[in-house]
């Protein structure tokens, strides 16, 4: 799976294009991303969106699996606090991320590449801004092979 480079020219063709996986909730961020499209707002194509019913369903193992499978960055996004379609799913998610992000950092994983956000169904512009910003940040950080390559170490 390769991403297309936005500009023409030999320098652009060899430039690293990050692969970003986004785990988003169906009711807010996914709908918001849909609004981005219907509003014809353009943003960088590096993100692969995975739709889940609610951020409360997002297991921290999903983030690890994305990194292990070669994602250079991960976005996790859902409804703002108090707006969760299932009332409290995002509150549980927030707590989980507060601990998991700390733990990832303690284990030496680059947490600059794992971004959490609240994007509502009305925030089409915010989604585009978020994806563009994260894509630029991860592009600057470079490819993230460290977690993926761990499955090669210790294999006799």
């Amino acid at each position: 799976m390769s991403a297309t480079a936005p500009a023409a020219g030999p320098a652009a063709a060899s430039r690293f294009e990050p692969r970003i996986v986004a785990f988003v909730c169906n009711w807010c961020t996914y709908a918001g991303a849909d609004l981005t499209g219907t509003s014809r707002i353009r943003y960088q194509p590096n993100v692969r969106v995975i739709r889940l019913p609610c951020t409360g369903r997002i297991d921290f193992m999903l983030v690890m699996t994305a990194l292990a499978n070669g994602a250079d960055g991960v976005i996790v996004s859902g409804c703002h606090p108090n707006d969760c379609h299932y009332t409290s799913g995002n509150f549980h998610a927030r707590r989980r991320w507060m601990v998991f992000r700390d733990l990832l950092d303690f284990a030496g994983v680059d947490v600059r590449r794992v971004v959490f956000s609240w994007v509502s169904a009305a925030e089409g512009a915010k989604w585009a801004e978020l994806v563009d910003k994260v894509t630029d940040e991860v592009r600057a950080l470079g490819p993230y092979r460290e977690i993926h390559d761990l499955s090669g170490t210790g294999v006799g």
Partner: protein, 338 residues
């Protein structure tokens, strides 16, 4: 160097051999200290080797039967699937400073891996591995090599046996062509005459008569002793994983980069899910049944099939066990008719 001869090996000469091995890119595994712990790890010089430790916690079987080994890889999908066997080659390896008890285990492993058809990966590893064992000058409570036909200066399974000399240095017994080649890296060495005084070997009192075990185990099959003894067993995989003769493995398929691979991973009969069926039934549901299996495999079933024991009396299992289970203690009690 002549096979069957004993030579004098000064520490400086041994260091030169290490240097030659490092230069040639040979992997050397030896007992090395990490904090409070002694593990079998890669070393580059003699100074890194924990010569004074009774044993490393893990065993040298990792050199020939790694904890994770790739059996094949595949790319593509559907009709367009391409399988690839690994190259049956292995990096040249010297296992240095393991004890004579452990060296005996390679034979046991070979009986399993080459049983009905040769395991090409195992054979490649074994062919490229030279075993330099270090004779013991001390034994601890966990040792029971003499109960299973071994001893602190046993030669079986070693290519070179080093025995510490009084006043420093080692006596080096060349046992095989591999040992000959390794010692040859030192250049000319003086043969050691009968006046070369070895540091004495420790007394290791046999704890039980292994010949009596098969009968005792058959008789004890339905005994409550298994459940009793294993009350404290936590059901982890430590004993099987540190054991030099244990060879059970699990096969795992993993996807990776648009393809994947098949891996062979260490497994342990002590784990609850070792015999767990997909239906949910488990023929070894209790820890007592699993303990009985472990002991009976080593001292009854394996000897029946191969006329050899699947235990070398190294005691690594007891030293590593978080709940202090002890094969030696248990078998001593069993053969005393308790």
């Amino acid at each position: 160097m002549i096979i069957g001869e004993r030579y004098q090996l000064a520490p400086k000469t041994l260091e030169a051999i290490f240097a030659a091995l490092a230069r040639d890119g040979v992997r050397v595994l030896a007992p090395r200290r990490v904090d409070q712990h002694v593990a079998l790890l890669p070393v580059k010089s003699l100074a890194e080797v924990a010569l004074d430790a009774v044993q490393a916690s893990g065993s040298a079987k990792a050199a020939v039967f790694p904890p994770v080994e790739q059996l094949l890889s595949f790319t593509g999908s559907g009709q367009d699937l391409r399988l690839q066997d690994p190259e049956p080659t292995a990096p040249p390896t010297v296992v240095f400073g393991i004890r004579p008890c452990e060296a005996r285990a390679f034979k046991s492993l070979q009986l399993v891996f080459d049983w009905d058809s040769p395991d090409t990966l195992f054979d490649a590893h074994l062919a490229m591995t030279t075993v330099v064992s270090l004779g013991c000058t001390q034994a601890d409570e966990a040792c029971f090599c003499t109960s299973v036909g071994g001893g602190p200066r046993d030669t079986q399974g070693s290519d070179l046996l080093l025995q510490p000399l009084q006043g420093g240095g080692f006596a080096a017994d060349v046992l095989t062509a591999k040992g000959q080649a390794l010692l040859g890296l030192a250049g000319e060495l003086l043969p050691l005459g009968p006046e070369g005084m070895l540091e004495p070997a420790p007394e290791v009192e046999p704890a039980f008569d292994a010949a009596r075990l098969p009968e005792a185990l058959e008789a004890a099959f339905d005994s409550p002793v298994w459940g009793e003894e294993s009350l404290r067993c936590l059901g982890c995989g430590t004993c099987a994983f540190v054991c030099p003769t244990c060879s059970c493995f699990d096969i795992q398929d993993e996807k990776r980069d648009g393809g994947g691979r098949r891996l062979r991973c260490w497994d342990s009969c002590g784990l609850h899910q070792f015999t767990l069926h997909a239906s949910g039934h488990n023929p070894r549901e209790t820890q007592g049944q699993r303990w009985r299996q472990r002991v009976s495999h080593k001292f009854l079933y394996f000897p029946e099939r191969f006329s050899a024991a699947a235990c070398v009396g190294c005691g690594k299992c007891a030293r590593a066990c978080p709940a202090d289970m002890s094969l030696k203690e248990f078998l001593r009690a069993l053969t005393r008719g308790r």
